[in-house]
Every structure is written in structure tokens, then in C-alpha cells.
């Protein structure tokens, strides 16, 4: 059930998407450092880079969906559209994040990457909360 104000939800979703992009970019930079320092192998670096690449594409798709909804409805976004937006968020961004999380677990949560993943996790949960779906998304994350 969606309880937040639709217009505010769109605005907050956009802000959360921007935060996630910033943290994801930090994650890419840290991965590069770890690879150059020899902490992770070429194969691990490649898998994580692929994960961030897919997450970045999903993020762009989510932003495009967000913009399309806003263009169509302005500040009067129907709740049904917000439901669709969440499905888009859950189906593309969260799914790609979960793939990335699996790769990260191979590297180890104690590394600097673990910190970035924790920040990304918190941001994704905050975004899911906008849609009233934090519990659902948390369950998916914890299932990994």
C-alpha cells in the first residue's frame, strides 16, 4: 500500500536515485583501488564491474521511467502509477543490486567495498520506504 504523497514520492525517489548513483560511483572507485592494490583479482574486479555496469543501466532506466511519469501526470501522479514505478524499481534496480551483492559477498563484507554496499543497501531501503515497500525489499536483501 502506498501512503506517501505522490508528488513528494516522485521528488524523493529522484533524490534517492541520485544518492544511489553517487554511492555506486564511489563503489566503482573503491573497486578500482582494491584491484590496483592487488586485494581483489582480475576476475573478481570484472564481475563487480559488470554488476555496477548493470546497476548503472538499471538506474538510468528508473530515472527515465520517473521522468515519463512526471511528464504525463505532473504533480498529480495517480497511486496506480506509483505502484508501477515501484515495480520498475524493484524489478530493475533492486534486482541488479542483489546481483551485485552476491559478487560482493565473494570479496568479503569486511572490506571497504562492504562499507559501500552497506550505504547502497540503506539507500535502496530508504527508496523502497517511499513506496511503503521497505519490508519487502529488506526480505529480498536478507535472503542472499
Amino acid at each position: 500500500m502506498l501512503t506517501a504523497c505522490p508528488a513528494k514520492s516522485i521528488e524523493t525517489a529522484r533524490a534517492q536515485s541520485m544518492s544511489m548513483a553517487r554511492y555506486a560511483n564511489a563503489g566503482v572507485d573503491i573497486t578500482r583501488d582494491l584491484f590496483r592494490e592487488g586485494v581483489i583479482s582480475l576476475a573478481q574486479k570484472d564481475k563487480i564491474a559488470d554488476g555496477f555496469l548493470n546497476l548503472a543501466k538499471a538506474g538510468q532506466l528508473f530515472d527515465e521511467t520517473l521522468a515519463a511519469i512526471e511528464k504525463s501526470y505532473g504533480s498529480n501522479v495517480p497511486r496506480t502509477e506509483l505502484e508501477k514505478l515501484f515495480e520498475s524499481f524493484n524489478g530493475i534496480v533492486v534486482a541488479k543490486f542483489l546481483d551485485l551483492l552476491k559478487e560482493m559477498k565473494l570479496v568479503g563484507s569486511g572490506s571497504r567495498l562492504g562499507e559501500v554496499i552497506e550505504i547502497l543497501r540503506t539507500t535502496i531501503l530508504a527508496a523502497a520506504k517511499i513506496f511503503g515497500k521497505a519490508y519487502e525489499v529488506r526480505q529480498q536483501i536478507e535472503a542472499i
Binding site: 578500482r32 584491484f35 570484472d46 564491474a49 555496477f52
Partner: protein, 51 residues
């Protein structure tokens, strides 16, 4: 001019304790991730022998 802007940024940061993190787009993340993916594969050739 740039020095003045930098000075003002620092001043705002100190006075307001504001984090001046630059906004990053998902497109920039993709570009950064693509560059990371390519790292360590320099000089490799594809199946057609093209590097």
C-alpha cells in the same frame, strides 16, 4: 576566478559544515564502471584478432 570559486566553496563548507559532494549521474557511473571493466584487459584481442 577559479581560485575565488574554490575559496568560496571552502568557506561555505567550513561555515556551514556542508558536504560539497558533486552530483553524479547514472550515465557517469556507467562510464566509470565500463572503464573499470576494461582495466587489466589492455592489449587483449577479441575472437577476430582485433585489439
Amino acid at each position: 576566478m577559479n581560485e575565488k570559486i574554490e575559496f568560496l566553496k571552502q568557506l561555505i563548507s567550513i561555515l556551514g559544515n556542508v558536504t560539497l559532494a558533486e552530483a553524479v549521474t547514472w550515465a557517469e557511473v556507467e562510464e566509470n564502471a565500463r572503464a573499470l571493466r576494461a582495466e587489466g584487459h589492455e592489449g587483449e584481442t577479441d575472437e577476430n584478432g582485433i585489439s
